[in-house]
């Protein structure tokens, strides 16, 4: 695996980011605007700015096929940006939430998206043809705290959500007329809207992996991985037997395992990366000068990791044989 490509965009935290399907466009949430970067000769250049929200944007996602961009923000709104010849045209989506939206992702079918919020609901939004309007349906029960993350099942009906009450839940977001009836799976056969297919608690503050068996049955295996590390913010499955997670330690870690057990298999950070952490040859004069000026001989204000602050999102960048991940950095 080759080393990371580092693109320094700006000196602001990045709440969320998304790549287009051809990986030529990168959408990055910066305060209350989304900046679109185009890849020109190996570097990302600012191409467009989507302004429409009036509070910090918390989520951005580009639909891989249609190219539509959905954003959600602390101003409790979501906007769908339709690409056209003259630029992106925003459409307001009524989420009907009383608290900030925290997270947004398109479903694989791209006909709907889910917005997590601090209002203890997940708004599942879809386009209503006859009204020419995006409407939302709420997944409410049994959520009782802020939703921090959502993730779609490939069938576009099942939705997994993580929340601050340390629970991960699996819901059905089946909407008549929008979705095709899903094939029966381990999560159930008939799945009307807001069916709770699974509810799991993570009480180890590490990573918990659950292997489901059948509907209404206890899971085959629930494996908690305790680490010596600080909490993680985001994770992805890089394959069936590997998870990449990253968070407050400012570097990404790899976990491997199966239903019999999981363990931390190491960091993705390559040691001895050039440019950082290389000790310059110090003269005695310089050393004493530093001691006098700063009270210490070595300047240790930089972390040894690529990211110099908490990693907030890990997203899939390319997946063919081995997945390459792309992280959003805070700098």
């Amino acid at each position: 695996m080759s080393g990371p490509e580092v693109h320094h965009l700006f000196h602001r935290p990045i709440a969320d980011h998304s790549f287009s399907a051809d990986r030529k466009i990168l959408a990055v949430a910066k305060d209350s605007a989304v900046e679109l970067y185009g890849k020109v000769a190996g570097a990302f250049k600012l191409k467009d700015e989507l302004k429409g929200h009036d509070k910090t944007i918390t989520g951005v996602d580009i639909a891989p096929n249609s190219g539509r961009i959905v954003t959600c923000s602390q101003d409790r709104n979501a906007l769908v940006w339709e690409p056209s010849s003259t630029g992106y045209k925003p459409t307001l989506v009524l989420l009907r939430i009383a608290r900030a939206a925290t997270f947004v992702r398109w479903s694989p079918s791209e006909t709907k998206f889910a917005v997590g919020s601090g209002d203890r609901v997940i708004a599942v939004c879809y386009f209503e043809e006859e009204n020419d309007w995006w409407v939302s349906k709420h997944l409410k029960k049994p959520i009782r705290s802020t939703i921090t993350t959502v993730s779609w099942h490939p069938n576009g009906v099942l939705l997994a959500a993580g929340s601050t009450d340390a629970h991960a839940r699996v819901f059905s977001s089946f909407i008549k007329g929008v979705d095709a009836r899903p094939d029966p799976s381990v999560w159930g056969e008939r799945l009307p809207f807001n069916t709770v297919c699974g509810e799991f608690m993570n009480n180890s503050a590490g990573i918990t992996v659950v292997y489901p068996t059948a509907p209404e049955q206890p899971p085959r295996a629930v494996i908690s991985i305790n680490t010596q590390l600080l909490p993680f913010m985001s994770l992805i499955w890089s394959s069936e037997s590997e998870i990449v997670a990253a968070g407050y330690d400012c570097e990404a870690f790899r976990f491997q395992g199966d239903a019999s057990g999981w363990q931390l298999s190491g960091t993705l950070e390559s040691k001895g990366r050039p440019g950082l952490g290389d000790a310059r040859e110090e003269s005695a004069l310089n050393m004493f000068k530093q001691m006098d000026l700063k009270g210490k001989a070595k300047d240790d204000t930089q972390l040894k990791t690529v990211h110099q602050n908490t990693i907030s999102t890990v997203r899939e960048y390319e997946s063919n044989d081995g997945n390459v991940t792309q992280f959003s950095s805070k700098s």
Binding site: A98, R144, S145, A166, A205, N226, T227, Q228, L230, P231
Partner: protein, 201 residues
């Protein structure tokens, strides 16, 4: 529900922004018991706790400090000060030079990481100041618990030898050195787990 909202003079002013909407929402966290978010604590009756404490003391008298520590950590008693007292006794009886090798052995054994998480919880249970005073038997000895800044171990440096203050300070320094050693082995992750776990000792 109609999506077009009716505007009145009340809704056009911004007075509505100051309404505490959580108080009006029956589902909000103000209006339900947040302890219902997690399963209840495992039940353990008082006789069991007494028996466990007796067993631990037996091991301690027999010189098996590691066994005593393991005994305490394998059956954590949530919401009980009695077993925290026993844990403190065990911790104080272990020499500083034995701490790291013993923690290393516990960490390497299967399920050892969970045991150290429990230990961290006991160490943090010490943090609120009146608690250690109770643990050390001040109450039993008939001392009043003065709520003065002198309570911290830090200010005990110049106190008279033989005073009870000294024992608090000494116990605190034992706890702090245990804390340091546990973090060296179990990592910062264990503090995170201790803070987020609903099962408090």
């Amino acid at each position: 529900m109609s999506i077009i909202q009716q505007h009145t003079s009340a809704s056009l002013s911004d007075a509505w922004r100051t309404i505490n909407i959580d108080a009006l929402d029956p589902d909000s966290s103000q209006n339900f018991d947040t302890t219902s978010l997690h399963p209840p604590l495992p039940e353990i009756n008082e006789a069991d706790v007494r028996q466990l404490n007796a067993q631990v003391r037996q091991l301690l008298r027999g010189g098996d400090a590691e066994g005593a520590l393991r005994g305490c950590l394998e059956t954590p008693v949530y919401n009980g000060s009695e077993s925290a007292k026993t844990v403190t006794e065990v911790l104080q009886s272990i020499k500083a030079s034995d701490m790291s090798p013993m923690l290393e052995r516990i960490h390497q054994s299967p399920g050892g990481s969970e045991l150290l998480d429990v230990l961290i919880k006991y160490l943090y249970a010490w943090q609120p100041l009146p608690a250690p005073v109770v643990l050390l038997g001040w109450r039993e000895a008939g001392h009043r618990v003065p709520l003065t800044p002198q309570q911290t171990g830090f200010s005990q440096v110049g106190s008279r030898p033989g005073s009870t203050n000294e024992s608090t300070g000494a116990a605190m320094s034992v706890i702090l050195s245990w804390h340091e050693k546990v973090i060296d082995i179990a990592g910062l992750g264990s503090i995170g787990r201790c803070m987020t776990d609903w099962r408090k000792v």
